[in-house]
């Protein structure tokens, strides 16, 4: 990867990776730090990185950096179980996005990551598996579970409304 390709990568993917990390960490400064570190690491190894795989490389580095950050700081409690104790208060009926964000926040870290990589970036199960170091079948199972949980949450909310 040349200097120009690296800088193009910054222009093209910096926002994407920032969104992905921000949605997971829910802290702007931490997300910025993680993204910056990820780009620094990519720059250090830019001679070894294939330009065509720069996005995948970047997300992989950023994801690992994020996991390290979570483990280190422990600001976010890792939950694999969907939080059932949802309090629905003063929620506008048509605000699907807000409801969905709440549902997303109640997913476990892994499931949330998988959903974001799938929906935001459109990665395939195989690519997600490479980024998160999971098998393709694991990705499929976790992602399907997450999706069903999101659906059930929507149904529940709609029932309440």
């Amino acid at each position: 990867m040349t200097e120009r390709e690296y800088n193009e990568c910054v222009t093209t993917y910096a926002d994407n990776v920032y969104r992905f990390i921000l949605k997971n960490l829910r802290n702007e400064e931490d997300a910025r730090d993680v993204v910056q570190t990820a780009f620094e690491k990519m720059w250090i190894h830019h001679d070894e990185v294939d330009a065509s795989k720069s996005k995948s490389y970047l997300f992989t580095v950023a994801y690992r950096q994020m996991i390290d950050h979570i483990r280190k700081v422990k600001r976010i409690q890792l939950k694999e179980e969907f939080n059932e104790n949802v309090k629905v208060q003063n929620r506008p009926a048509n605000n699907l996005k807000k409801i969905l964000d709440e549902a997303l926040a109640r997913l476990g870290e892994t499931q949330r990551t998988l959903v974001l990589l799938k929906d935001y970036e459109g990665y395939s199960y195989e690519e997600i598996g490479q980024i998160t170091n999971l098998s393709e079948s694991q990705v499929k199972v976790y992602l399907h579970r997450a999706r069903v949980q999101l659906k059930e949450y929507l149904v529940k909310v709609e029932n309440v409304i």
Partner: protein, 367 residues
Amino acid sequence: MSKIENMIINRHNYEECFILYWDNELSASQKQVVENFVKENQDLEEEFTILGQTRFVPDNNIQLEKKEFLLNNSFINITNYEEQLLNYIDDEVTADQRKEIERFTAQYSVVKQELSLLQKTKLQPEAEVVFPDKSILYRRDEKVRVISMTWFRVAVAAAIILIAGFATFRLINSKNGDTSSFAKIDNTKDQLSDKKTDQSISNPSEKISKDTKNDLVNTDKKSTNEQPTDKKNLKRTDDEAVVPNTLIAKRENKNNLPEERKNINQQPDNMNTTGDGIIAEATVLIKKDDRTAQANQPDAINTGFEKSDVTLKANPTLYIPEQEEREKGGIKEFLRKTTRVFERRTRIQTTTDDNKLLVGAFAVSLK
């Protein structure tokens, strides 16, 4: 009373036999026995017929439509449709499978509703969320190309550096030489002017050489113009009183400047001669300033000890600081220009953004 294989049918148990008959649990001979019993007892015929009517006959008009989804060999069926819908919204199906799922979904409203809900769970990227300051992420490749040099190239480079160093050294030395010669020329001019005043005091061009000693000299010259004979006499007396005869002889010899330089360089003791020139000039001035005072106190000025004091003071204060500044300024300017030319030619900055000087690598732009 008839007999049905080990069972006797009579008016007490005929009901059970009638039910068995209509449930098709009797053999053909037994059925015949029941039918004969009904004929023999006409009052029970209606009851026999009613029991027969209670039976449900399958309605052949009722048929299960669209039975395909019950077949387990199909791609999407009632048992796996949710998984296929998830694959569908994750875009993990082929074009053919996509069409099949869409066809399946269109047939069943329940499945359609399920798909609609799952599609709502799909997140959309938030375009308004952007990385705050991308400029900190951009990088510039600051690699410098290090050219490996063979011994021959190293030798050539060393020779060039030596020559350049020698030339610079010579240049600086020549500047020093010019400055000293400048001082000497001044002295010589002074001496010449002194001499010429001896010969012809009325020459104006010679008077201009004394520009720094303006007023006194002018007044002095005016006086000499007015009274030339007095001036001559006065000058002679001044020369006789202040400058020794040997010095006058030396001055006469100094008309040829190069020879004088040689003498100075070869004989450091003769530096007094140069000093004497300045001293002579200074003493002339002093004499012109305080001619009357000099007449009163001639010994205080004429002593050689005081001459040497004047010499020590005159040299550093007049010439050396300018010379040093010129040397420093010249070297700095030379280095600055060299750096600028290098940066312009190679388009490589010799300093980094944080003002670090790149040292130890020779950078050559390949552009």
